[in-house]
Amino acid sequence: MSEASPAKAYALHLGAIALLFVLSFLLPEYYHGVLARIMVLAVFAMGYNMLFGYVGLLSLGHAMFFGAGLYGAGLAVIQLGWSVPAAFGAGLGCGAVLSLIIGLLALRTTGVAFMIVTMMFAQVFYLAILYFAAWTGGDQGMVVPQPARVLSFGATSLDLTNPTVRYICALSLFSLVLLITLAIVRSRYGRVLVAIRENEERTKMLGYDTFSNKLAAVVVSGTICAASGAAYALLFGYVGSSFASVQYSILPLLWVLLGGAATTLGPLIGTLFMYYVIDVTSGYTSAYLLIVGIALILLVLFFPKGILGSIRQRWLGWLP
């Protein structure tokens, strides 16, 4: 797997990043904004894929990691008046610490119990946001004020509310996380993660401490999801409790399943696909979720490995 065609894989990923960069100049304004949002959410999906796709751990609580980044960054700006980079760092830090704690506790379970435990923790997180409404704004959420959303380097400053700046920031984060994921899954550590997914008992008998490896994967995954949440707060200026609700724990699972679990580009494709299915169908009918549901069922029936996973299986075996 990791021995085959590294050049091809890197060329494909750099090509995808270049394409997204070019699209920034070609897309009409509405789609420009949509794509920026999709790229940030695709980072969320990539973080989820790290754990679900490569380690085979199905979490139903990843909204709390997205929420940790979202609120970590949002509260730092709104309540503490921190600058954008510091707030982004605060979001990352919250995600890393939270995922370490949750990992230590939840990894004592496996399978269905792991799903339930992660979901319960995420609900606790969600309810805590509502409970501490004095700081978090409760179910109303908070708006990050426009003047605070400025990235300053000495004399120059970038306004994150400017669509082009926002797009480039989203793209930068997306590209960075994409390349990090690619490097991880092609590394020796990535090989161990896949081995744990395939047969954890056997991996132990090769001398691997599978608990520590899984814990590291939870932290990497949670921190990537927090990066997505922090970027969302700073780029789009809204910090809301709905992002920590159970719906946002299920969405990354759907995005990853659609795009193809354990494929590096699958999360982007899945997020993009799902967004446009909802966008297009909701233009025709108010029962658009019905159509989305049917589309999902058809996909799972005919492409159980997701869009990119099926392409890899049938034609392009070298896809990472």
């Binding site: 797997m1 990791s2 021995e3 085959a4 020796r188 090989r191 161990v192 896949v194 081995a195 395939e198 047969n199 008992e201 056997r202 991996t203 132990k204 008998m205 090769l206 001398g207 691997y208 401490d209 599978t210």
Partner: protein, 241 residues
Amino acid sequence: MTPLLTTKGLSRNFGGLRAVDSVDFTLMPGEIRAVIGPNGAGKTTFVSLVSGRIRPSSGAILFDGADITGLPAYVRVRQGIAYTFQITSVFANLSAYDNVALPVQRTLSDGRSKGAVRAGVMSALERTGLAGRAHMPAGQLSYGHQRLLEVAMGLALKPRLLILDEPTQGLADSEIDNFVELVRDIAKSATVLLIEHNMPVVMHLADRITVFNAGRILAEGAPEAIRNDAAVQDAYLGTAP
């Protein structure tokens, strides 16, 4: 000389069943030791206790003089106890190369260079005759080749004690001959503990034989002595040719 492996009063109960019943066992470095016995005699449970896959109900295990009874399996592997599975459990979706790379990359102490992993993997695959199939998914290898891959993974751990649990089960006669040669070759650098039903293989390979029956050691000695032991014949060999 310190024994490589010693067990003292090692026991394991499954409910009311004493699968392994206060076993005192000693294995000297460099030996090829065969463990035989009827089905259900506790052979696999015994080696699972040694490798750390299951916990003993009581008793102690010493490896190279040090007590390892409380250590988790992965630490024992790192200390040099490798276990190859009775039921082939290679990573079916990974290539043969990746299967062997997993143990190789962990044992490399210097290890950042890609060349070192590659060299280690290819040497283990060559010793087992699988080098030409390195990039096939393990699940697509023939059963005999999967068994060999299992051994290659054990070899790649550079073990001091290699536990082989019924390695020739399901192999064709021609494959068994090669296998015997391979185990001889391995024994030059490691102590081998072999659970085996195929008596010609056992008689050929083993320096000493331990016979299990009903969770206890029934007899122990050189192959000839075991062959002529009346109690062993009663319990086990009576049905063999």
